[in-house]
Every structure is written in structure tokens, then in C-alpha cells.
């Protein structure tokens, strides 16, 4: 395990000495702040409207805008989820592809280190960097908690916010695992990033295909899509099935990556 930690440390060091991590952080901060301002503006408009005509006269789906948690944070985290799908492949692309390209893979494979330690070390670093990227958006709930108010005490429902972040972390961790596996198959970071993005986006949006097919295929496809798995958690309902679903995919990707790295010994 000491070896895995040494590798994780090296990976994180490289993320932060190259511009990549900072570019991704900036992109996440910039894009999420645009959505935050937009969503907050919409929330304010509905609130004004409700004050003039009362909630009873507004269409029922406007009830969402009664509190900051459902009206702003849940909406915002939904968009951050999509941003994550776009940025995570850029963070995972270099994990193995870069080692192969600059021939340092040869160093790792001839040091007294087990392949599984290399894979786990890399994944640990991947988890760290995606958590930091998502962590940037924590500033919005804190802004709302500080300056917002509600009729029932606390401005935000922290359990909903926490589950929202748990969902984002699960998705981010899953895309990083997929990205790590794809990165272990190629020398080109571009190819790795592109394919990771295609796979993650397709997997996320499987639910749309499900609408076009009949049962029982529809249920299966719906079950497999990231979007439908996350739906409950994003609304603040803890869903252990989703947790198991994502952890299973992550473990599967780690096993596949290990096979790909270990294959070096056989071919």
C-alpha cells in the first residue's frame, strides 16, 4: 500500500505543477458561477411573481421555487453534473497514456511494485483531483446559507445538499474510473479523453433511448443509465441501490485497468 501512496502523491504533484488542474478548476468555477447567477435570477423572479399573485395561482411545478434548496441548489448541482461529464475525461486522460508515451511506464513496471498498486495509486489521485474540482462549487451553498433565508429557520436543507454532492462524487469517481481504463489502452491522451467522454455521455443519456423501446428492454436500459440511477439522490432521497450500482462499475473498471496493465507481462 505504501507504493500506491507514493504513486498517488506523484500523480497529484504532477496535476498541480502542470497547468491542467488549474485550467479545469477555472473552467469549473467559471461555468458553475454562470449557472448559479442564472438560476438564482430565475428563482428571484418566481418569488416576486408569487408575492404578487400568491403561490396558489401559479402552476403546480412552480412549488419547486418555494425554497432555496430545491429552487437553486438542486438545479445548480444538476448542471454541475453535466459539466463534470465534460471535464472529468480531461483529468483522467493522462493517467496511463502519458506514462506510455514518455516511456516512464517502463520505469513503473521494472520497479519492485505490483501492477495493482500502480492502478490503485493512480485511482486514488484521480479521486483526489475530481473531489477538488467538485469542491470548488461548495462555495454556492455556503453563499446561500450565509445570505439566504427561509420561513422555516435554516436557509438550506443540508441533508439534500449533502446527498447532491454524494451523487456528483459518485458520478465523478465513475467517469474517472472509466477514463483510467481507457487511458490504459492508448498512448494518446487525446484519444483517451475523447473516448472517455463518448462512453460517459452515452452511458449518462441511455435513458433517452429507453423511451423508444418496449418492455422489458426499457426497464433494463433505464436501470443502467447514470441519469436514472442518480435521480432520487439528486432530489435528496438516499438510494443505497445507486451507491451499489456506481461502486460496482468503479470496481469493474479498476479490475479491467489492472488486467490491461498486467497484460504487459504477457504479450
Amino acid at each position: 500500500m505504501r507504493n500506491a501512496l507514493a504513486i498517488a502523491r506523484k500523480e497529484l504533484g504532477i496535476y498541480f505543477t502542470t497547468p491542467l488542474a488549474w485550467i479545469i478548476f477555472t473552467a469549473m468555477g467559471f461555468l458553475s458561477s454562470l449557472f448559479f447567477v442564472g438560476i438564482l435570477g430565475g428563482f428571484k423572479q418566481v418569488q416576486e411573481l408569487a408575492r404578487q399573485v400568491t403561490w396558489a395561482k401559479l402552476p403546480p411545478d412552480y412549488a419547486l421555487f418555494k425554497n432555496l434548496t430545491d429552487g437553486v441548489i438542486v438545479q445548480l448541482l444538476g448542471t454541475v453534473l453535466i459539466i463534470t461529464l465534460f471535464v472529468a475525461p480531461f483529468l483522467s486522460m493522462r493517467l496511463f497514456a502519458e506514462e506510455r508515451r514518455q516511456k516512464t511506464f517502463e520505469l513503473l513496471m521494472t520497479c519492485p511494485v505490483r501492477p495493482i498498486e500502480i492502478v490503485l495509486g493512480k485511482y486514488l489521485a484521480a479521486l483526489g483531483i475530481i473531489s477538488a474540482t467538485l469542491g470548488i462549487t461548495l462555495i454556492y451553498p455556503f453563499i446561500l446559507a450565509l445570505f439566504g433565508s427561509s420561513e422555516s429557520g435554516s436557509a438550506l436543507e443540508w441533508s439534500t445538499v449533502t446527498l447532491g454532492y454524494l451523487s456528483m462524487l459518485l458520478l465523478g469517481a465513475t467517469v474517472m474510473a472509466i477514463g483510467m481504463f481507457i487511458s490504459s489502452l492508448t498512448e494518446s491522451q487525446m484519444v483517451a479523453a475523447f473516448f472517455t467522454f463518448v462512453v460517459a455521455l452515452a452511458w449518462f443519456a441511455l435513458g433517452m433511448v429507453a423511451q423508444q423501446v418496449d418492455e422489458p428492454v426499457r426497464s433494463v436500459i433505464t436501470y443502467l443509465s447514470f441519469d436514472s440511477q442518480l435521480r432520487n439522490m439528486m432530489k435528496g432521497v438516499f438510494d443505497p441501490k445507486a451507491l451499489v450500482f456506481f461502486v460496482t462499475i468503479i470496481v469493474l473498471q479498476i479490475v479491467l485497468t489492472h488486467r490491461a496493465v498486467d497484460a504487459q507481462r504477457w504479450t
Binding site: 505504501r2 507504493n3 504513486i7 504533484g13 505543477t17 516512464t104 517502463e106 513503473l108 505490483r114
Partner: protein, 236 residues
């Protein structure tokens, strides 16, 4: 027990035979010069000895351990400088050597002392806090060599350790390798015959994947000298 024991080692890449039933042994403490024209299979053999590539046939043992069956035991005993030095350009020399040292299970004061020793020996001590990417090619190569020396492995496998160095640096690196004779076993490949003459006790010449000659340097230098022997053996 010999340090390296190679029996019928063969490597096939699809339709191409890179090395063909190699047999040789290297005793502990020897310096072996590994010669051959380009594409003779030198790098492939070295990659198999370090456990990076699996052989298609045959066996290779390092200090009694099979490279394929017990790779971890083998890797604990070797320091390896591949053809392209395996460097991370975005790391400083110090951070890089620390990283490799940790992977070789060195730690604490021991690691510090080792980094001190290898950077002094390779003349990179003054560059410790510079980014590897900012170093000249010669320095980068020497950092690669420093990495292979970390922890004084029983066997050092050096693939063209003097490539890309100027004459003065070449002499320095050869002197360094020579000073390790007896303490460590060293296999170095090169296509510069003068280098082998200067430091190696034994020479292994391979041509088209086969052993063309394996003998002490004096024996091979008989007659017209090492150059002539080399040209005669490899022009076949």
C-alpha cells in the same frame, strides 16, 4: 550462483524473430559489454531481463529468480536505464529521485543519503531543484542513470548509458561504471567498441538475435582487434 542465467531465450513479435535461443550466463561482479548492430536484439534482451517484456520461449534467471515467475524478487535486485531515460519532465530532479527511491522501498535518512550519493556520482547534485524538463539532454541522461543506481542494486542493466553525452561526460560515466566493478554486476549495451574495451571484462556480441560471440575481451581482441572481430561476426 551466477547473477544472470539465460537459457534458450526467444522473443517473437508476430512475424519477426527479435532474439533467437540466446544462452549465456554472467557471474556476480562482472561488467558485461553487450554489443551488436542496430536491431540485433540488445534492447529486447534487456527488456526481458528486467521483467518488462515476457519471453516467447526460454528462461531468464536473475540471482536464481525467474523473471517471469517471480518478477517482484527480480525487480528488487535490478536498476534499469532504458534506451529512453524514463523521466517526468514536470518533476524536479529531487522529487523524481525521491519518487523512484520510495518505489524501491528506500525511506527516510537512507533515501536522503542515497540521493546524495547518486547525484554526486553522476554530477547532477547541482541540478537537484531544477525541473527535469528544463535540463539539457546530457543532464537528463545522467538523471536517468542516477535513478538506476538508487539503492545500489545487485544488477544494473544499462541500455546505451553514454548515448547523447559529450566526450567529457562519456568519460565520466564510463569511469563511474568502472568504479562499481566487483561491487555490482553491470550489463551495458553500446555500439561504441572503444567504450567496451575501456571498462568491460567480457563481451557478448549478438547479431540478428543470435549469440555471435561470448568471450573475454582479450580473446576477442586477438588477431586484428575487437573492431575486426565485430565486423567479421556481424557482417554474416
Amino acid at each position: 550462483m551466477p547473477m544472470i542465467e539465460v537459457t534458450n531465450l526467444t522473443k517473437r513479435y508476430r512475424d519477426r524473430l527479435a532474439i533467437d535461443h540466446l544462452n549465456f550466463t554472467v557471474e556476480k561482479g562482472e561488467i558485461l559489454g553487450f554489443l551488436g548492430p542496430n536491431g540485433a536484439g540488445k534492447s529486447t534482451t534487456m527488456k526481458i531481463l528486467t521483467g518488462f517484456l515476457p519471453p516467447s520461449e526460454g528462461k531468464a534467471k536473475i540471482d536464481g529468480f525467474d523473471v517471469f515467475e517471480q518478477p517482484l524478487e527480480v525487480k528488487k535486485r535490478i536498476g534499469y536505464l532504458p534506451e529512453t531515460p524514463p523521466l517526468y519532465p514536470e518533476m524536479t530532479v529531487r522529487a523524481y529521485l525521491r519518487f523512484v527511491g520510495r518505489l524501491k522501498a528506500l525511506g527516510g535518512d537512507n533515501l536522503k543519503a542515497e540521493i546524495d550519493r547518486v547525484t554526486k556520482a553522476t554530477g547532477t547534485a547541482t541540478e537537484l531543484d531544477r525541473l527535469i524538463g528544463a535540463l539539457s539532454k546530457g543532464y537528463q541522461h545522467r538523471v536517468g542513470l542516477a535513478q538506476a543506481m538508487l539503492g545500489s542494486p545487485a544488477l544494473m542493466i544499462l541500455d546505451e548509458p553514454t548515448e547523447g553525452l559529450d566526450p567529457k561526460q562519456r568519460a565520466g560515466v564510463l569511469e563511474l561504471i568502472k568504479s562499481l566493478a566487483g561491487k555490482q554486476t553491470i550489463v551495458l549495451s553500446t555500439h561504441i567498441l572503444a567504450e567496451v574495451k575501456a571498462i568491460a571484462q567480457k563481451v557478448l556480441i549478438i547479431n540478428r538475435g543470435k549469440v555471435a560471440a561470448y568471450d573475454s575481451i582479450d580473446k576477442l581482441s586477438e588477431g586484428g582487434g575487437l573492431e575486426e572481430t565485430f565486423i567479421k561476426l556481424t557482417s554474416a
